[in-house]
Symmetry: C2
Subunit: 332 residues, 2 copies
């Protein structure tokens, strides 16, 4: 096959990001070896920190790994057909008015489920064991026996039932929790005992032992977990956010934790990230902060991502519509 | 039935202990309702802080809940046949030379498994998610993304395969871990892939991703996890102690954690307890301390304990040997 028949794919990296997100020559070669037939149709270039981006854009059919909107893209990338971003939340790319006509944007939906399920097992058991309180006590060099009941039979309320929400539901069922799910459409999913539309949220919140936020950030979900909604929770409830910081009123959450009106919270997302040293969140009592690591497998995140990309490439070559296509109207 | 046919049981409490350990009239009444036929054979007294102990001892056949050795007991308690302690580790009661001839001591074996299993699920996932490091970073107000791989396929080495060790094995298998067990006899147990005698420990330690200490404290197990044995662990390994502080060299463990020679550790037991504020353990990096809460159900610990006791009472009344009898020679 001649070069002329090949599609050109450009992979863009940032050295400043953690290594787990470096799509290196070696990772790419390994993925090509896993998808040999498809890889033969490609010519790839790998760039770092934008230094070769402009040159690559001029010739690329596909683009992988950009971290934000690109200006004047139709002009800079006349052949561009498809951009894949190696994250699930694409709020920063919206609206899609920067995308050249005919080009599509896909996200990394499907890459996070396995790790998210493990994180959620940790999250539920951590909150049930009252570890948020125990960790605060350790910080204060205070020995205080806080006991906890069995987790089985408690209720997890999972808001958002995509990749992450369903992983949260799987983890909950394994631990013997009851699972109530909330989604836009209210459509049943595996591992949720009941599924409700968003309108039911205010009725469900007082029943929850654990509230899990797993929605994409859209105009509809911004501040979904507002001060008023936080006030609907039981004092013994725990809150877990693996979505985006902006879906939850952090200030109201921290105030409630300081007043002892909530048992604990676990935030994997904050605003801004990195969280600056002076943020009052760091030492909010009974609050555990994880640095946005809930859903990304530390060894295989990009391998999984590339497998998702190659599966989509096969669809592309067969003329089928791509999966994981970002819907500008829905916002994810 | 006349009073003369009844056995007298005295229950002793300490007000200073957490409420979960207060064997109140209400709890006792609830247990009697669950075991109505057996309860008819009893007359019970409940005492606090030893104020009525001497008077009660004079008439009691059974004693529940003492927290240490009792002096001149044969003389003080001429009718005493059976003492039950509501804990699993009975090292503080040994040797049994204080026990009147013919009286037996039983422990609370069987009361800890369900809660211990839940704690261990938390412990494995917490260490696998590198939470010990993440918590240390939060303490230092430092945002640093630390990623972790999947937990499945890692190896848990469980030292001690009694009630707690088997709970640790069950939790490990649920999470997809490989389980190597170590016990005195090396006898197979459910949920352990392999079981070895203690002599194999030095060979197994370098293979472990997680070492779980779940042995009773005996002369054989004191300092079992010595400095030299800690040095056999991989730098990526994690250590979990749900046994007794004295089975592990805490000073050596803390030094290794400070030098970054171990990924993390979770201690549910320390020496002394309560751990004083000035202890250097509190802020040892990548060390999480839980205040001896791993195995006791916060709602039902004493209910479970009393069910164990009533099952043994039935054996006593039928003339069968009691279960959970402490063996002075073995030391547990």
């Amino acid at each position: 096959m001649t070069t002329a028949n090949k599609f050109r794919v450009h992979i863009e990296n940032l050295r400043g990001r953690p290594e787990v997100y470096h799509l290196t020559e070696a990772r790419w070669a390994a993925a090509c070896a896993r998808h040999r037939g498809l890889a033969r149709r490609l010519e790839a270039s790998i760039g770092w920190d934008g230094t070769t981006l402009d040159q690559a854009l001029g010739q690329s059919d596909f683009l992988i790994g950009i971290r934000g909107r690109l200006e004047r893209l139709a002009e800079r990338a006349p052949r561009l057909k498809w951009i894949h971003v190696t994250m699930a939340g694409v709020d920063r790319f919206l609206p899609l008015d920067w995308l050249p006509p005919g080009a599509v944007l896909t996200n990394n939906h499907g890459a996070h489920g396995v790790k998210a399920e493990q994180y959620m097992r940790m999250a539920y058991t951590l909150l049930n064991t009252r570890m948020a309180e125990i960790i605060s006590n350790q910080h204060a060099r205070r020995w205080q026996q806080v006991f906890s009941p069995s987790i089985a039979g408690k209720t997890a309320l999972i808001v958002g039932l995509g990749d992450l929400g369903q992983a949260a539901a799987r983890a909950a069922k394994q631990l013997g929790l009851k699972v109530a799910g909330v989604s836009r459409g209210g459509k049943r999913v595996p591992h949720a005992d009941t599924v409700h539309k968003t309108a039911a949220l205010d009725r469900l919140l007082p029943l929850a032992d654990y509230v899990v936020l797993a929605v994409p950030l859209t105009p509809d979900t911004r501040n979904l977990m507002s001060r008023a909604r936080l006030d609907l929770l039981k004092p013994a409830a725990g809150v877990i956010n693996i979505a985006r910081a902006q879906v939850l009123d952090h200030e109201a959450l921290a105030a409630k934790l300081r007043r002892g009106e909530l048992a604990g919270a676990l935030l994997d997302v904050v605003d801004p990230e990195p969280l600056p040293p002076e943020s009052p969140l760091w030492d909010t009592p009974n609050l555990v902060i994880t640095p946005h690591i809930s859903c990304d497998d530390g060894e295989h995140y990009l391998d999984i991502s590339l497998d998702i990309w190659f599966a989509n490439l096969e669809r592309f070559l067969k003329g089928k519509p791509l999966k994981n296509r970002v819907d500008s109207r829905r916002g994810y």
